[in-house]
Amino acid sequence: MTTVETDNPKSRKFGYRVNPAGVLGFAMILFWAVVAILAPWLIPYPVGEIVDFDYFGPMSQQFWLGSDYLGRDMLSRILMGARYTVGISLVAVTIACFSGIVLGMIAAVSGGWIDTVLSRFLDAMNSIPSKLFGLVVVAAVGSSVPVLILTLAVIYTPGSFRFARALAVNINTMDFITVARARGEGTLYLVTSEILPNIIGPVLADLGVRFVFIVLLLSGLSFLGLGVQPPYADWGALVRENIGGLPFGAPAVIFPSIAIATLTVSINLLIDNLPQKIRDRSE
C-alpha cells in the first residue's frame, strides 16, 4: 500500500480540492474534540458548584454563558457536557459501524443462508423506531453510560450493516474477487484485503452520518430524562434541566442547544464537502 501512495501521490492524497465549508466543518469538529479532551482544565468554575446567587442569570463578564437553574456556571457545564455527548456518541458509533461493517462484509461474501438470516434479523431490528427502542431498554435496565453506549450501538448497527452489505455485494461480483476465490483464499482474507479497501471511503462518510444520528438520539433521550443522569449532564440533559428558563429566554436553555447544532451541522458540512473521490460511491 505504501508504495502505491508514494508512487502516485496525487491520486491517493486525502482531501485535495477541499472547499471552505468543509474546512469550517472540520475545524468545528476539531474544536469540540479538543474541548472534550481538555474540558477539566478549561472550565472556569467547578461544574457542580453553585457560584451565582441568581438563577437563570444573564450572560455577564463573570459568567460568559449565564448561569443555570441552580446558579451554576453554564460555560463550565457545557464544556464538561461535551465529554459526555462527544465521548458516548463516538464510542457508540465506533461499535455500531465496526459490527455493522464486519457483519455486512461477511454476509456479502458468504451469501446463502448466513446472508438471509443476518439481513432478515437486522431488517426486523430496523423496524423498531429508534427513540422507542431507547425508551424500552432504558425502562428495562435503567440508564447508565455503558447501557447508553450499547443501546445506541445496537440501534444503529442495522443501518450500517445494510449500507456496508450493499457496497460489498457490488464489489463481490468483480473479477479480482473471483480470482482470489480461485486462488483458494478464505473469507477472512477476502473481507480484509479485497473488499474493505474498496469500500472504506463511503463507509467512513456513512460513519459520519451515523454519528450525527447518534448525537441526536442521545440528546433526545437525555432530554426525556433517560440519558446521562444527574449530577452529570450531557447537552441534551442540560436543555432538560433548564427548560424552566425557556419562557424568559434564559441563555442556559439556548446555549446547550446551540452546542448540539454546531457539532451536528459541522459534521454534515464536512461530509457534504468531502472530496468527490471519497463520496461518489456513497450513494
Partner: protein, 316 residues
C-alpha cells in the same frame, strides 16, 4: 402466483408479519428483563412472602417466559391489553382517548407538512442550482441536523417569548372555541411540521432531480419543451412513486418526533403516556404503547415499500 406485483406485495406483507412477531418478542423480553420482582414491587416492602407468592401465582409470574409471552400476544390479538400496574386501570381505557389525541396531532401535522414539503421539494428541484434551491437545501440540512426539542424550544422562543403570540408551554385539555384549539395545536404542529417536512423535502427533491437526469428528460429539453412542461409532464409522473414512498417514510420519522413533542408541550397523547409509564416502570403499559408505535411504524414503512413496488412500471 402469476402476477408478479401480487406475489411481491404478498411477500412484503409476509415479511411485515414476521417482523411484527420478532418485534413483539423483543419488546416483551426487553421489558421483562427488568431487575427486581414485579409482585414484591407491587405489594411494597411490608408484604409477607405468602402474599408475594400468592400474587406471583395470580399474575402467572412463575410460568415460563415463553408461556407468558404467548398469553400476552394472544391477549393483544383479541383486544385484551391487560391492566396497568401503576393505577390498576385497564390499559384499553387509559389508551383510548389518548390514541385519538395522538392521531389528531399526527393528522393535522400531515395535512400541513405534506403539501408544503412537496411544493418546496419540487420547486427546488425545478430551479436546481439557483439561490432559492440553495436556501431550501441549506435550511433542510439545518433542520435535519438539530434535535426535535431544539426546534420546539426555538419555536417557543420565537412565537411565545419574542412575538408573544402563543402561550409558552401549556396545554389546555379542554378546548372550547376554535381559537383555543388553534392556540393549543399551533406549537406542536409547527414543531412537527418543521422536523417532518425537512426529510420529505430532501427526498422529494432527490427523486425529481433523479428523473430530470434521465435521457427522456434530456430529450424533452432538446425538443424545446419548457422547464415547467418537462417537470410537470415528463419528470413528475415518473417520480411519483419515489415521492409517495418518501412521504410514507417521513411520516414514520414523525413517530420519533411525536415522543419529544408530546413531552415538551405536555400533550395528552400516547407518547406522553409511554414516557410517564417509563418513569413509573409500568411494564404492561410500556409494552402496549411500544407495540402501538411499532405497528404504526411497520404499517408506514410497509406501505412505502408497496407503493414503491406498485409505482415501478417494469413490474406491471
Amino acid at each position: 402466483m402469476k402476477n408478479p406485483i401480487l406475489s411481491l406485495i404478498a411477500s412484503r406483507l409476509l415479511i411485515a408479519a414476521i417482523t411484527l412477531i420478532i418485534v413483539s418478542f423483543a419488546v416483551f423480553f426487553a421489558t421483562t428483563m427488568l431487575p427486581g420482582d414485579t409482585a414484591s414491587i407491587l405489594l411494597g416492602q411490608a408484604a409477607t412472602p405468602e402474599a408475594v407468592a400468592g400474587l406471583r401465582k395470580a399474575m402467572h409470574l412463575d410460568d415460563p417466559a415463553i408461556l407468558r409471552f404467548l398469553r400476552w400476544l394472544s391477549g393483544l390479538l383479541v383486544g385484551d391489553l391487560g391492566v396497568s400496574y401503576a393505577n390498576d386501570m385497564p390499559i384499553a381505557d387509559l389508551i383510548g382517548g389518548r390514541f385519538a389525541n395522538s392521531m389528531k396531532l399526527a393528522g393535522i401535522t400531515a395535512l400541513f407538512s405534506v403539501p408544503i414539503a412537496l411544493m418546496l421539494g419540487i420547486t427546488a428541484a425545478m430551479m436546481r442550482g439557483t439561490l432559492y434551491d440553495r436556501i431550501v437545501t441549506v435550511l433542510t440540512i439545518g433542520v435535519i441536523s438539530v434535535p426535535e426539542f431544539m426546534i420546539a424550544t426555538s419555536a417557543v422562543l420565537f412565537f411565545a417569548v419574542y412575538l408573544q403570540w402563543l402561550p409558552a408551554i401549556s396545554f389546555a385539555n379542554e378546548a372550547h372555541t376554535f381559537t383555543d384549539m388553534l392556540r393549543d395545536y399551533a406549537m406542536p404542529v409547527i414543531t412537527l411540521t418543521f422536523s417532518g417536512s425537512a426529510q420529505m423535502i430532501r427526498m422529494t427533491r432527490a427523486a425529481v432531480v433523479e428523473t430530470l437526469n434521465t435521457p427522456y428528460a434530456e430529450m424533452a429539453l432538446l425538443k424545446g419543451a419548457s422547464r415547467r412542461r418537462i417537470v410537470l409532464k415528463h419528470a413528475l409522473p415518473n417520480a411519483l412513486g419515489p415521492i409517495v414512498n418518501a412521504v410514507a417514510l417521513s411520516l414514520s420519522y414523525l413517530l420519533g418526533g411525536v415522543i419529544i413533542v408530546e413531552t415538551i408541550f405536555n400533550y395528552p397523547g400516547i407518547a406522553k403516556l409511554m414516557v410517564d409509564a417509563v418513569a413509573t416502570r409500568d411494564l404492561p403499559l410500556i409494552q402496549t404503547c411500544a407495540m402501538i408505535f411499532c405497528v404504526g411504524y411497520l404499517i408506514l414503512i410497509t406501505t412505502a415499500d408497496i407503493i414503491a413496488i406498485l409505482a415501478n412500471p417494469r413490474l406491471r
